[in-house]
């Protein structure tokens, strides 16, 4: 590589890193406890669990759960029901004063899917983990904060790639993994920076880039919803289950029957979310049922179907566009939550190694004077 090209890449590496380093350091530090948020919730007892009942106790209807929730919180209406894979007997129920809200006054409660009883109100807005989450996700600045952190993530991508370009010239006279321990601390840290940077390369690129995609989640969902509504209005829908189809419970206006008809239309899928008519994720006349597959990959790739509770017709408004697939795949690859506790531990160790790369990079820049004076 020519000296001038090398200098140019060096300049790119220096400035892309310097601008984002403090933010990426913060993201790595706050991300560390977030990797284990599930385990921490469980250990500190802040997790809400369904009361013990014999296994296989049948679930009551979702209409019953909604009615009970509204009875407990008068003046509210249900917006969404969310199901968690590892708590099949609980529904997260989101309530608000109106269905067409911006959710600024929404309330999330947890209901027992078997008895319809309200089990508790999860506390997401207080405590250490909440601070970690907000710092990691939006710096308490909403969408602007998300997009800003996303831009820092893009700079990290530039820093990593320029770092790879610089790796070869630095390693010309060294063998892989060599740390010149007999030399000055700056040389030793340069070798460690290069070694740790190159071994964490793929992981850091994957977690960094999927993190950037996650910052666009709000925009992506709004785009998909607009597309679905447009397809519905233009009549470009595919009927999966006709109103008069046999082999499915007849529509009776209830949500439970509507959801059961969706299950018939899409077998081998599990219900991840139910959106009430009139909400952002549904249409004024249709219930939206969001379904996921049952493997680690397909459970992330959800598909929304619309069902008219009165006629019973099940529609697919639009096949999931590529950008939603990209977002849904980005979530597990960023969180590292798809391979049990061992994967989370590896995620944490790689995160710590990345912290060392960032810290040593900063140290190398601060100590650059010594190097320049000598040469």
């Amino acid at each position: 590589m020519q000296a001038s090209t090398l200098r140019r890449w060096g300049w790119i590496h220096k400035w892309s890193s310097l601008v984002c380093t403090l933010f990426i350091l913060m993201l790595c530090l706050t991300g560390l406890p977030l990797i284990f948020s599930h385990e921490i919730e469980h250990l500190t007892g802040s997790e809400i669990e369904a009361p013990p009942m014999p296994e296989g106790t049948p679930h009551t209807s979702v209409d019953q759960v909604a009615a009970e929730a509204v009875r407990a919180y008068p003046g509210r209406v249900p917006l969404y029901f969310f199901a968690e894979e590892d708590a099949p007997d609980l529904w997260y129920v989101k309530l608000d004063t109106r269905v067409d809200t911006d959710e600024s006054e929404s309330l999330l409660i947890m209901s027992d899917a078997r008895t319809a009883e309200v089990v508790g109100v999860p506390n997401f807005d207080e405590g250490f983990m909440s601070v970690m989450y907000r710092l990691h996700v939006d710096l308490y600045a909403g969408l602007a904060g998300k997009l800003f952190l996303g831009f820092m993530g893009l700079l990290l991508m530039v820093a990593i790639i320029s770092g790879v370009v610089l790796y070869a010239p630095f390693m010309r006279k060294l063998s892989f993994g060599e740390v010149r321990r007999e030399r000055a601390p700056r040389t030793r840290w340069l070798d460690l920076h290069n070694l740790l940077g190159i071994v964490t390369l793929v992981w850091a690129l994957a977690v960094g880039f999927t993190g950037v995609i996650n910052t666009w989640a709000d925009l992506i969902f709004k785009g998909w919803q607009a597309e679905q509504v447009a397809a519905l209005q233009a009549g470009e829908t595919r009927v999966l289950l006709a109103a008069d189809a046999t082999g499915a419970p007849a529509a009776d206006g209830s949500l439970q029957t509507a959801v059961e008809r969706v299950r018939v239309a899409a077998p081998n899928m599990t219900v991840a979310m139910i959106a009430w008519p009139g909400t952002l994720r549904a249409t004024p006349e249709h219930v939206a049922v969001v379904l996921g597959g049952d493997s680690p990959l397909t459970s992330r790739l959800t598909q929304a179907l619309l069902v008219d509770p009165v006629s019973g017709e099940v529609l697919e408004a639009r096949v999931r566009p590529w950008y939603v697939t990209a977002l849904q795949l980005s979530e597990p690859l960023h969180f590292g939550d798809y391979g049990g506790l061992p994967l989370k531990v590896l995620w944490a160790l790689l995160d710590v190694l990345t912290l060392v790369v960032l810290g040593s990079g900063l140290y190398l820049w601060l100590k650059r004077g010594a190097m320049e004076a000598r040469s």
Binding site: V179, T200, V202, L297, L333, L353
Partner: protein
Amino acid sequence: MTRIWLWPVVVALLSMLGLIAGLVSEDLGDWLSWGALAVPVAIGCQGLARGRAAQQSRG
């Protein structure tokens, strides 16, 4: 060229395998994931340990 890039490419390919395996298959995929991603972690930690050892021998 080969001397410089052989190990980085091996580690990069193993990392990719590790990231994808657990996503597309359970059980076997998880084990592949753990095994493959342990390689960059092990090399990194070993490098750090050597760096520390050097510091102590200097002091």
